[in-house]
Symmetry: C2
Subunit: 231 residues, 2 copies
């Protein structure tokens, strides 16, 4: 099978999970076709390509569908192994990258969904406290992984940069909506610096999700929800 | 660092997640020390070695702690790469193995916890239906992965054999407790055959969790809970 052609990405631009695949494909300079799939409307397509979860993203390579964003990123790294390496090469560093990426997906990022659902007051404060606790863990993870270099992956954007970088845009939206900083200079100075670096890094900057664009998307979605509820 | 010495496994024998690490170490013929850690009592040890999740298993290799069972299995496969390979070598097969292992952990196996909490009647039936639906997915995954050979990993016990094999013992306990077969000859004939094979396979049979032993453990734990509730 031709490795560099026949790559389709089923997904939607604002999705942080789709963005991970976009970032990985960008780093590896792989030509691909983005097939717009809205998980709420295009159930049939997803039932065919991702029958278990019916979620985006799905990467279709030749005739083979692969789902789950971080599994796709690993697949891309292994198939196009002549490009820059995305996962660390040392087994322990790899284990740590996998560990923290799973932490972001299973524990930390879901807190922002919880935040969106929580009213102001005690429950919001509790969620924000948990987010801060996680942020402090991730700050330490950055320190340990980057070893004084600009990225989690060292000199170049790697697996954990992709996992975390894809969610930053939406966290910036959350900051605007609640009127409070999440990426705090005092609690996570290294991560604050890392955000600046990844958003200005030539190899990925055009593929990073723009917080301003996401805020517009969010407002449009909210307006549609309000309209749907009113009719 | 010496690769084959200084390997400690913090955990408890009946844990299916600890069992995955035991299986991987057994396949690779790695000498290790099991340090009995009870997650309910030994919080301090876990706070030191796994501060994020405070869970077993933790593999301590030299002075480096690694947590999360499937990440540990991958680490073992990569560090002791001279032994039999645990993960498939083809990138697509690897992606599928990672996908189904994550499915077991995130979706399928948690249904058994739900089953334990559910009363007889509609809610139990609903959970059992979901378990069956997942079983059918996993039967197909076995067919696709094994390609007519005895294991998910083909001729030898691999990553998905470990992920699934570690939970079989506890599912057998669930079968006894509810008086109903989960691994059904009609719905999952290949998986039923696979269970026989993995429990009699020389390379791992002594490390597989024994359902009878687990049932005793379960009864003991229930008796302790009842006693604690009564005092």
């Amino acid at each position: 099978m031709e490795k560099t052609s026949g790559v389709k990405l089923l997904g939607s631009h604002p999705s942080p999970f789709v963005n991970r695949v976009v970032l990985a494909l960008t780093i590896k300079s792989i030509h691909y076709e983005l097939v717009e799939v809205n998980p709420h409307k295009d159930g049939e397509i997803l039932a065919k390509y991702n029958p278990v979860h019916k979620k985006i993203p799905v990467l279709v390579h030749g005739d083979k569908p692969i789902s789950e964003s971080l599994i796709i990123v690993r697949y891309i790294d292994e198939v196009w192994n002549e490009g820059p390496s995305i996962l660390p090469t040392d087994p322990y560093d790899r284990a740590m990258a996998l560990f923290w990426a799973a932490y972001i997906d299973d524990k930390w990022f879901p807190l922002f969904k919880q935040l969106q659902g929580s009213q102001e007051g005690d429950s919001r404060k509790e969620t924000l406290d948990k987010i801060t606790e996680g942020l402090v863990f991730l700050e330490k993870a950055f320190k340990d992984s980057s070893k004084g270099k600009p990225f989690f992956g060292g000199e170049t954007v790697g697996y954990l940069d992709i996992a975390m970088g894809s969610v930053v845009g939406w966290i910036k939206v959350a900051e605007t909506l609640i009127g409070q900083k999440i990426f705090d200079d005092e609690k996570a100075p290294l991560l604050v610096g890392w955000i600046d670096k990844i958003y200005s890094e030539n190899s990925v900057k055009d593929a990073m999700l723009n917080p301003q664009t996401l805020l517009e998307v969010f407002k449009k979605l909210q307006a549609m929800k309000t309209e749907a509820a009113a009719t």
